[in-house]
C-alpha cells in the first residue's frame, strides 16, 4: 500500500498505538463522566470548564518559559488548564446561586470571560519566541497526530485514575445525581461527593485537551452519554454504554484525523459522537416499543 492514508506498519508505530490507547481511555472517561454531567444538568457547565482550561494552559506555558523549565511539559499544561477549569466549574454555580443570575446567564458570562482571557493569553504565547513552535494551537480543536508518547502517557494516567475513582464511588455518585436530598438524609457527605464529581469533570477536560481540544471536549462528554441515555436501561448500564460509545468515537476520531490531512482530531471525534447520538434514536425506539408493550401488560 502506497497512498498517504494507508494503514501500513509505520502508521501503526509504537507512538500511534500509544496515542490511540490514550484516546480510548479518554473516550471511556468522557462517556462515563458525561453520564453524570448530563444527569445533573451540567452540560453547559462542562462547556464552561472546557473553554476555561485555555487561559490556564497559556499561563502555565508562559510561567514555565519564564522560570526556564519546560513550558511544553504535559503535566505543567494539565496543572494550568485544570486549575482554571476547576475555578470556572466552582465559581459558575456560585455566580448562579449567589448573584441571582441563574445558571444560563452565569454559564454564558463565565464561558465568554474565561475564553476571552484565554485567547488574549494565547496571542502572548504566539508572540513568545518558542510559543509559536510549542504546538499549543492544537489545544483548541485537538490534534492526536501531533502528540507524543509522553503526552499520551500523561493523559492516559489522569484518565485511568479518574475512571478508578468513578468506579469506586459509582453508587454514591449515582444517588447524589438522582436524589441529593435523600443522599443527605441517609448521611452521605454530599458536598464532598459533589466536589469529587466536579474534579472528575475537570480531569476529563484536562485529559481531553490535546486530543479533543478545549473548544470541543464537551462534545465527547455529552454526545456519547446522551446516546446511551436515549437507549435507556439502568444507570450502570447507561454509564457503561456511554463509555463504550466514547471509546469508539475517540478512536474513530483519532484514526480519521491521522488518515485525512488537516482534520483536527476534536472535530473528527465530535462528528463521530454526533453520529452515534443520531444512530441511538432508532435503536432506542426499537427497545422502547418492546418495554412499552410490557408496561401496558403489567400496569396497575
Amino acid at each position: 500500500m502506497t497512498s498517504g492514508a494507508t494503514f501500513d506498519i509505520p502508521f501503526w508505530g509504537a507512538n500511534t498505538i500509544m496515542v490511540t490507547l490514550g484516546c480510548a481511555v479518554f473516550g471511556a472517561l468522557a462517556g462515563s463522566v458525561g453520564t453524570f454531567v448530563l444527569a445533573r444538568k451540567q452540560s453547559l457547565l462542562a462547556d464552561v470548564a472546557g473553554h476555561a482550561a485555555l487561559p490556564g494552559v497559556a499561563l502555565a506555558f508562559l510561567m514555565g518559559e519564564w522560570l526556564e523549565i519546560n513550558g511544553r511539559s504535559p503535566w505543567l499544561l494539565f496543572l494550568g488548564g485544570g486549575t482554571t477549569a476547576w475555578l470556572a466549574a466552582w465559581c459558575t454555580p456560585w455566580l448562579a446561586n449567589k448573584r441571582r443570575l441563574g445558571a444560563d446567564g452565569a454559564n454564558a458570562v463565565a464561558l465568554a470571560g474565561f475564553f476571552g482571557l484565554g485567547t488574549v493569553l494565547f496571542s502572548l504565547v504566539q508572540s513568545h519566541p518558542t510559543g509559536a513552535q510549542g504546538g499549543l494551537r492544537k489545544l483548541l480543536f485537538g490534534n492526536a497526530a501531533a502528540i507524543t508518547s509522553s503526552d499520551a502517557f500523561a493523559l492516559a494516567s489522569i484518565a485511568l485514575i479518574a475512571l478508578l475513582v468513578l468506579v469506586l464511588y459509582f453508587k454514591e455518585f449515582s444517588l447524589l445525581a438522582f436524589d441529593e436530598a435523600a443522599a443527605k438524609v441517609l448521611g452521605f457527605p454530599t458536598r464532598i461527593l459533589d466536589w469529587m464529581l466536579l474534579l472528575l469533570l475537570v480531569a476529563t477536560v484536562v485529559a481531553g485537551m490535546q486530543v479533543a481540544g478545549v473548544a470541543l471536549v464537551v462534545s465527547m462528554l455529552i454526545a456519547p452519554a446522551a446516546a446511551a441515555r436515549v437507549i435507556g436501561g439502568s444507570f450502570a448500564k447507561t454509564a457503561t454504554l456511554a463509555a463504550c460509545i466514547g471509546v469508539a468515537c475517540a478512536v474513530t476520531g483519532a484514526i480519521a484525523s491521522r488518515a485525512i490531512d488537516h482534520v483536527p482530531t476534536g472535530s473528527a471525534m465530535t462528528l463521530a459522537a454526533t453520529g452515534a447520538f443520531f444512530l441511538s434514536i432508532p435503536v432506542a425506539r426499537f427497545f422502547h416499543s418492546k418495554r412499552e408493550h410490557v408496561a401496558k401488560e403489567l400496569a396497575v
Binding site: 444527569a39 445525581a177 435507556g232 439502568s234 450502570a236 408496561a295 403489567l298
Partner: protein
C-alpha cells in the same frame, strides 16, 4: 412494657432561608408512633420548609430542637426516610425501579462495595411489598406517577426506615392511585412504621390519616383529626375570620 419512643419530637423549632426571614417559627409537636399524621395548612405556610428543616436539608434551621426517636438525626439516620415532592426528582434519570429501590440499601452496603445479588434480592423484597416486583427492570421514567411514588416508598422500606416523611405524596395522581398509595402507607404503618406527610387536600385527610398537625408558620393545632381540624382551628390557620356562630333553633 416501655412505650415506643416518639418518632419525631420538635420543640420551639424555627427555620427559614438565606434572607434571614423565618418561615417556621417556634413550632412544637410530637408525633405518635405507628400513626399516619398529616401536616396540613394553607399554601405558603411553610409545611415543606418544616419537613426539610427538621431533616437538616436547610442551612438555616435550628436542628438542635429536633429529636428522632429521642436522639439527634445524626445518630438514627438509617431509621428516617424522606420522599421529596415528585416534581423535585428528575424522572428521566436512567435508572430502573430496582436501581432506585436498591438506593435505600447504599448505607448498609457501604463505600467501595457493589450492589451484589444479595442486595438486589433485598431490594426486590421491598418492591414486592409495594406491588412493584413485576416492573423491577422498567426505567422509572416509563412508570406512572403512582408507580413512581411506590418505587420511592420501596426505597424507604429497603432502607428499613421506621419514620417516613413525605412531601405531598398524593399530588398529581388519580383517585385510584391515591387509594393504592394510601393502602400501601397504611400497610407500612401496620408493620410498625410511622408516617408524617405534607397533605394539601383537607377533604380527604380523614380517609388516609389518623392525626393531623395544622400548620401556618407555627403549629395551630395537633391531635386526632376531628380535634386538630375543628372549625375554629381551620378558620385561624386559613385566616378566614371567626367561624360563623351556630344557628339558633
Amino acid at each position: 412494657m416501655s412505650a415506643k419512643p416518639c418518632p419525631l419530637d420538635i420543640q420551639n423549632f424555627s427555620a427559614g432561608y438565606g434572607n434571614g426571614e423565618l418561615v417556621v417559627r417556634d413550632a412544637s409537636f410530637r408525633l405518635r408512633a405507628g400513626a399516619m399524621t398529616a401536616l396540613v395548612g394553607p399554601n405558603g405556610a411553610g409545611k415543606s420548609t418544616l419537613l426539610k428543616g427538621a431533616l437538616g436539608l436547610l442551612t438555616h434551621a435550628d436542628t438542635a430542637c429536633v429529636r428522632f426517636f429521642g436522639r439527634p438525626l445524626e445518630e438514627v439516620r438509617a431509621r428516617v426516610a424522606y420522599l421529596p415532592q415528585r416534581a423535585e426528582i428528575d424522572w428521566t434519570f436512567p435508572a430502573s425501579a430496582l436501581d432506585v429501590a436498591a438506593m435505600g440499601l447504599y448505607r448498609k452496603i457501604g463505600f467501595f462495595h457493589r450492589v451484589t445479588g444479595r442486595w438486589k434480592a433485598e431490594a426486590r423484597k421491598a418492591l414486592a411489598l409495594v406491588g412493584m416486583e413485576s416492573l423491577e427492570n422498567m426505567p422509572i421514567g416509563e412508570l406512572s406517577g403512582g408507580q413512581q411514588q411506590r418505587v420511592l416508598l420501596a426505597r424507604s422500606l429497603a432502607q428499613g426506615a421506621d419514620l417516613l416523611m413525605l412531601d405531598e405524596p398524593f399530588v398529581n395522581v388519580d383517585f385510584a392511585t391515591e387509594e393504592r398509595l394510601g393502602a400501601v402507607l397504611r400497610e407500612a404503618c401496620q408493620r410498625g412504621m410511622s408516617v408524617f406527610a405534607v397533605h394539601h387536600d383537607l377533604g380527604d385527610v380523614r380517609r388516609y390519616f389518623d392525626e393531623a398537625v395544622l400548620f401556618d408558620g407555627t403549629v395551630v393545632a395537633h391531635g386526632a383529626i376531628d380535634v386538630a381540624l375543628a372549625d375554629a382551628n381551620l378558620h385561624e390557620a386559613f385566616r378566614l375570620g371567626p367561624p360563623p356562630e351556630e344557628a339558633i333553633p
